[in-house]
Each structure stands twice: as C-alpha cells, then as structure tokens.
C-alpha cells in the first residue's frame, strides 16, 4: 500500500514537474548555461582535465535548484491549488503523500546531470569515461534520495516562513558554493567546512566525482544515505508539528 502510494505519487509529480516550463528552465537550461560558463572559465584559465568535473558539478547544481524551488514551495503550492486540505484529510499520513513530491523534485534534477554531460560531450569534447560506472549508478540515486529527504525538511520548515519563495532564492548560490559543487572546499574559508558536512549535496558531489574520476565512493554514498535518514526524521517531526498547528488553529488553507 505504502510502496504503491509512493510510486504513484512520485510518478505523478515527476510528470507534473516535467510539464512545467519553470522546472525545464531550472533543471535543464540553467545548468547547461552554468556548465558552459564553467567550461569556458576553466579553458581560459588552463585548468585542463576539469571538464567532466565541471559537467558533474553543474548537473548537481541543477538537482539542488530543482529541489530547493520544488520542495521549498511544495506545501504552499498545494495550498494555492486547493489540494492541501484533501492531502491532509486523506487516510494516509501527510508524510506519505508529501515525500513522493519532494523526491520527485530532486529526481527531475537528473535531467540536469544528463543535460550537462551530453552538452559537454557534444560541444566541449568532455570525456565520459567513468572510472567506476557501478558506483556512479549507485551514487546518483543515493544523492537524489538524500536531496529529496532534504527537500522534505525544507518543505516542512519553509511553510512557517511567509516569504518561503524569497528564502529559496537566497539559498541557491550559498549552497552551490558551500557544498563544493564547482569550487573545491579547500578554496573556501575553513569555517565553511562544518556547514558543508551537514549538507548532503557535499557528500553526493564527492561520491559522484570519486566514482567518475577514480577513487572509492562508498563512504560518501553511506554519508548521503545517513544524512537522508536524519533529514527524513527531522522533516517528519516538523511536518507533524505543522499539521498539528494548522489543525488546531484552523489555518491550513490560509496563506
């Protein structure tokens, strides 16, 4: 029952988000443009051998943007569409209907990875020789799932903030920077390190790069999954809190 609900919900939201021009922009066009900027900058700076590094980084940037904008406003959107009361009132727990949505927002970020790799290969000659294809094949879904869980945490906490969309705008660049998606963490001030460690994109990016460029990604994949479980636990507590407050104050449909 739960698995069926998850599958149907995930598929529905995946199709729904794919039909949105905004998410096409965020998950395909924007990463491809940022990948091109990085390719040109690395080329002119003579940083050879970094094209695959840039393509993967720009792809992960797209996953983060899709998760941030998709999940950050998830509850608000349901509220605007008038479907929030139906979802909360349905027999399954609200978590079971919201989680497929937040994981779907992270999943459409896979378009970014595919898009930036294909773009890099076609127009910049990026080599697509993955050192450990099996680890890449595991690292990408692990990253998506942990970002989906992070999305649940965002969805359940952003709802408490009236300007959640604006807050999402604010968080795009800082997380791109602090998680080392294009700039290695060693180039950033040391105080950024602890922030990076609690953000799953850091581990997801390292896992995918290790797997693609050589090295072992298993520890990072494990960190991704572990953080995903922590986000899920925190998100479910925050979501229960939101549901309880909304019911007791009768503010479920109020913006």
């Amino acid at each position: 029952m739960s698995l069926r609900l998850f599958w149907i919900g995930w598929l529905f939201h995946l199709k729904n988000l794919t039909n949105s021009m905004f998410f096409v922009l965020v998950s395909v066009l924007q990463p491809v443009i940022f990948a091109s900027i990085a390719f040109f900058m690395f080329e002119s700076g003579n940083r050879t051998g970094t094209l695959l590094y840039a393509a993967l980084g720009a792809g992960l940037m797209g996953i983060w943007s899709a998760t941030l904008f998709g999940s950050g406003g998830a509850i608000q959107w349901q509220r605007w569409q008038g479907t929030l009361e139906i979802l909360v009132g349905a027999p399954p727990p609200f978590l079971a209907t919201l989680l497929p949505l937040t994981i779907a927002t992270a999943t459409i970020g896979i378009y970014s990875v595919v898009g930036t790799l294909a773009w890099g290969r076609l127009f910049f000659g990026t080599p697509l020789d993955f050192a450990h294809p099996l680890q890449v094949a595991i690292a990408i879904p692990a990253t998506v799932l942990s970002l989906g869980a992070l999305g649940l945490l965002l969805a359940s906490t952003f709802i408490l903030y009236r300007n959640a969309n604006a807050f999402a705008n604010l968080l795009e660049y800082p997380v791109w920077l602090a998680t080392g998606l294009l700039v290695p963490l060693t180039f950033l001030p040391s105080w950024v390190g602890p922030i990076a460690w609690v953000l799953s994109p850091t581990w997801g990016m390292t896992a995918i790069r290790e797997a693609a460029l050589g090295g072992s990604a298993w520890v990072e994949i494990g960190m991704c999954i572990g953080l995903g479980i922590v986000y899920l636990a925190l998100g479910s507590v925050a979501l229960r809190n939101f549901e309880r407050l909304a019911r007791s104050r009768a503010t479920l449909s109020l913006t």
């Binding site: 905004f22 040109f40 900058m41 002119s44 300007n163 920077l177």
Partner: protein, 262 residues
C-alpha cells in the same frame, strides 16, 4: 506636455508601487540584495579556482549584471503584468500618451538597479577588498546608470512581447541566463567563440561592463566614452523596438478584441 509628464512620473511611480502588492520587504531584501551578493561571491571564488581573471573582473562584471535583474524582470512585469492582472484594457482605454506610460515605467527600475548595483559594489569593498581606482566612483555611477538603462530597455522589449506571448517569464529567464554567458560578465568577450561574442556585443551589458572595468582600473571617462555611447545606443535601439511592438500589439489587440486573451 504637462499631462504627459504627470503620466510619466505618477504612472511610473504607481506601477512600481503596485509590484509591492506582492513583493514584501523580506522578499525584496533576499531576492534583490541577498542572492546577488552570493552570486558575486560564487563567481569570485570560481574565478580564483579557474585561475582565469582577478577578483576585480568578477566583482565589476557581477555587480553591474545584478542590476539587470531589476531591469529585465522588473520591466517585464511592469508591462506584462497589466495583461495578467486584467488592468491592460482600462489602461489602454485612457487617452494618455503611450510614450509617457511606457517610459514612466522604466525610471523606477533604473533607480532600483542603481541601488542593487551600489550594494554589490559596497559589499565587495567590505568583504572582497575591492578597491576601484581613486576618483573613479562618479564615472562608475555613470557607467552603471547607462548599463542599467540599457537593460531596462531590453526588459521593455520582453514586456511588450508579454502583451502577446503566453509565458513571457520563461523568455525573460532565458534571456537573463544567456546574458550571464555571452555579455562578458564571467568570461571576457574575447575568450568566447566568435559567434557567441558577436551575440553578446548586440546585447546590453557587454559594453557597459567593459567600460566599467576600465574605469575601475583607472581609465578616464573620455577613454571609455565610445563604449558608453555604444551601450546607450544599444539601449535606445531596444527601447525603440519595444515601443513599436507595444503599439503594434495594442493595435492588433484592439482589432482582434484579444487584448487580454491567452
């Protein structure tokens, strides 16, 4: 003339204030100041890692480009939202001077762009040790004003398309992101393939940013006059095209009774 001036000033001010019907102060600060600041930081650090240019290159490029956000998105909304919110018909039913209606909407966005850009430069001075050449600030203000005006003109053109197009914001987003790539904001124009550089030279920002970089480096205003004139002329070209489109779509909308249909 007095009526046109009144429409220009009051109409522009009301249109700008109307945006704050849904843009709250919190949203303004995070979107117009917070996000651009992190954009500057992101590209300065990326530039350091790539080893392509010094910090000042990215500070000047991004601090001017962030003004384009106000120009392009704001101006697009300033025009296209009339149709979306159902106020286009009453607006066009008035005998008000169309040029005054149109141009009046631009002025607040130029001022807004200047504020955003000044914030970007100030924060770069504070955080990134950005120090423009002594005495270059007034010339930099001029360069930013001309460039922002030019971006607003491009926003006008996209906004005018919004009188006909179904989803104009997709176009505005696409243009905005493409400008990051081709207008010399992050990559020097000469480092781009010829055809991409040529596209960039036909768009606002490119010449203005180039002029501002030279000014910040110590060049005299006279040395970059050619670049600033080119930027201004590009802006005028887009503004003229936008006005023509606005009038064409107005006439077409009246003829087909389709002003607010999608």
């Amino acid at each position: 003339m007095t009526a046109a001036l009144r429409v220009f000033v009051v109409g522009g001010a009301i249109s700008y204030r109307a945006l704050f019907n849904w843009i709250t102060p919190g949203m303004y600060v995070t979107t117009m100041l917070g996000s651009p600041l992190f954009q500057i930081l992101f590209f300065v650090y990326l530039g350091r890692y790539a080893g392509t240019q010094d910090d000042d290159f990215f500070v000047v490029g991004n601090a001017i480009q962030i003004a384009a956000m106000s120009g392009i998105y704001g101006m697009t909304m300033g025009i296209a939202n009339e149709r979306q919110y159902g106020t286009l018909q009453p607006l066009l039913a008035t005998p008000a001077n169309r040029l005054a209606i149109f141009a009046g909407r631009a002025l607040p966005f130029v001022a807004n762009g200047l504020v955003v850009s000044a914030f970007g430069f100030a924060m770069s001075w504070l955080i990134l040790d950005f120090r423009p050449a002594e005495g270059s600030v007034p010339s930099l203000v001029l360069a930013v004003t001309v460039t922002t005006g030019s971006c607003v003109a491009l926003g006008m053109l996209i906004g005018s398309l919004g009188l006909r197009a179904r989803d104009v914001f997709f176009g505005a987003n696409l243009v905005y992101f493409l400008m990051l790539l081709v207008c010399g904001v992050k990559i020097a124009n000469e480092d781009l393939p010829g055809w991409l550089g040529a596209i960039g030279r036909c768009l606002p920002l490119t010449h203005g940013i180039e002029a501002a970089r030279e000014l910040a480096d110590g060049a005299a205003l006279g040395d970059v006059a050619g670049l600033l004139w080119t930027e201004a002329l590009i802006g005028l070209g887009y503004a003229a095209a936008a006005y023509v489109l606005f009038r064409v779509f107005e006439a077409e909308g009246r003829r087909r009774a389709s002003l607010e249909t999608y």
